[in-house]
């Protein structure tokens, strides 16, 4: 490969200078390539690309003293979800047991599942008020009739409206964290503004146990 350069004219010979080699000098790059790929492999394997994401949830402040319920508390557009091990039950409105003051029939638990056809469809139906309003604001935003800030404010207002769906979440002893987070996730997909994880009542727990048989 490397060849001795021809001797030039007599002048250069006299100075004793060597002429540069002609053509590209070949450097063996194999070790460098090895190293480069080694480093590459190392970084590919050790790096974690996606930083973990967080889902925020604001809990209600704990009441200072015991809360007295006077029975006149109205529950508007509320649905209660009861979570058990990978199963999800719900009932709408207030909870009625035998011999309740209003004489309403006993609450019956309905069951749904975590699939798109289950809970997602259910919530979309129940929360139609907010979703329809939001769709209206969306188109207004897209046609630039309202500003971003106005849009966010209006959506927030719609979510806090008395007609918007409110959700209570109760869990039994065998529900997993995945069930809980999945449910919260579905609620966020359905644009539900008021989410309240609360303690399960004994009477509700009994109904769930009767359903699951555990």
């Amino acid at each position: 490969m490397a060849q001795m350069a021809d001797d030039g004219g007599g002048q250069e010979k006299g100075k004793g200078k060597k002429r540069a080699k002609k053509g590209m000098p070949h450097v063996d790059m194999t070790p460098m390539v090895d190293l480069a790929f080694l480093l590459l492999t190392f970084f590919v394997l050790t790096s974690t690309f996606s930083k973990p994401k967080v889902m925020s949830l604001v809990y209600p402040a704990k009441p200072k003293g015991p809360v007295e319920l006077d029975g006149t508390t109205q529950i508007n557009n509320a649905v209660t979800f009861l979570l058990s091990d990978d199963r999800i039950f719900y009932y709408e409105g207030a909870f009625y047991t035998d011999g309740n003051a209003k004489g309403a029939p006993n609450t019956v638990l309905l069951e749904t599942d975590f699939s798109a056809g289950g809970i997602r469809k259910l919530l979309t139906n129940m929360n139609r008020f907010v979703l329809e309003k939001k769709a209206g604001y969306d188109s207004e935003l897209n046609s630039k009739q309202i500003a971003d800030t106005t849009y966010l404010r209006k959506v927030r207002e719609a979510k806090a409206d008395i007609k918007a769906l409110k959700v209570l979440i109760k869990t039994d002893d065998i529900a997993t964290c995945k069930n809980f987070i999945d449910l919260i996730d579905e609620l966020k997909i359905a644009d539900i503004g008021v989410i309240a994880p609360v303690d399960i009542m004994q009477s509700e727990l009994e109904l769930v146990k009767a359903k699951t048989g555990k």
Partner: protein
């Protein structure tokens, strides 16, 4: 037919473009890499559609599938040392200088205060096997001995104090900082398979301290509203 003469010397391949590419990729990965933090337990977090990135300044409580509680916090060595010394004072524990500096290196830990000196004396790998084999029950959080509450409480105080300093510093530097960026955020990292009652217990501890805004660590999943049907 003309004969095609084979070159006598071994064919040289010009590797320059390949090397260029290799180094380009190396540079890219080096700069974009955020290394996996060395946590004592690996938990498998559930997924959600939330795309909010985990905040910088956090107090993180981890719940593993067995329901054990681990505590970790972001911040520099001084901050962690302050928190540990407050805890050591409260639980009347004497720790050496080495143990303090060892504690500052930990991303998270899960042991009671009585186990703490032995836990800190362990090596990194030793600690991992200790936790894996169930040598510790995690940080106690029952009502009679609620050490988790103290950890969160002292962590919050120390983090707020250092956050305040950073805030005034940023303000003096002429920036217009957001106060909330300097306050610690409370993050809950729960394993999907862990029973919710364990997580609920931790949430109740936070709520007892009047810290009601919690964040759950989740992995990202596709938002079904954005997929065309």
């Amino acid at each position: 037919m003309a004969k095609i003469s084979k070159p006598k010397s071994s064919p040289t391949v010009d590797m320059t473009p390949m090397v260029d590419l290799a180094f380009l990729l190396v540079t890219f990965f080096m700069l974009s890499a955020s290394f996996r933090t060395d946590e004592v337990v690996q938990v498998d977090t559930p997924s959600s559609i939330s795309d909010k990135i985990i905040p910088e300044n956090v107090i993180m409580v981890t719940v593993d599938p067995k329901g054990r509680i681990f505590y970790g916090m972001s911040g520099n060595d001084t901050l962690k040392t302050v928190v540990l010394s407050s805890m050591a004072d409260k639980y009347k524990l004497k720790l050496t200088k080495e143990q303090y500096s060892e504690f500052a290196k930990l991303t998270d830990f899960g042991c009671s205060m009585s186990e703490m000196p032995a836990y800190l004396d362990m090596g990194k790998e030793e600690r991992k096997t200790f936790v894996e084999q169930g040598g510790t029950k995690g940080i106690p959080a029952d009502s009679s001995n609620n050490q988790l509450k103290d950890w969160i409480h002292f962590g919050n105080i120390a983090s707020l104090a250092s956050g305040e300093k950073a805030y005034t510093k940023a303000k003096e530097a002429g920036a217009n900082p957001e106060v909330n960026d300097f306050k610690p955020k409370f993050v809950l990292k729960v394993d999907g398979k862990a029973a919710y009652v364990y997580a609920k217990h931790v949430i109740d501890v936070f709520r007892d301290l009047n810290l009601n805004n919690l964040n759950f660590v989740t992995s990202l999943e596709q938002d079904p509203r954005q997929t065309p049907e």
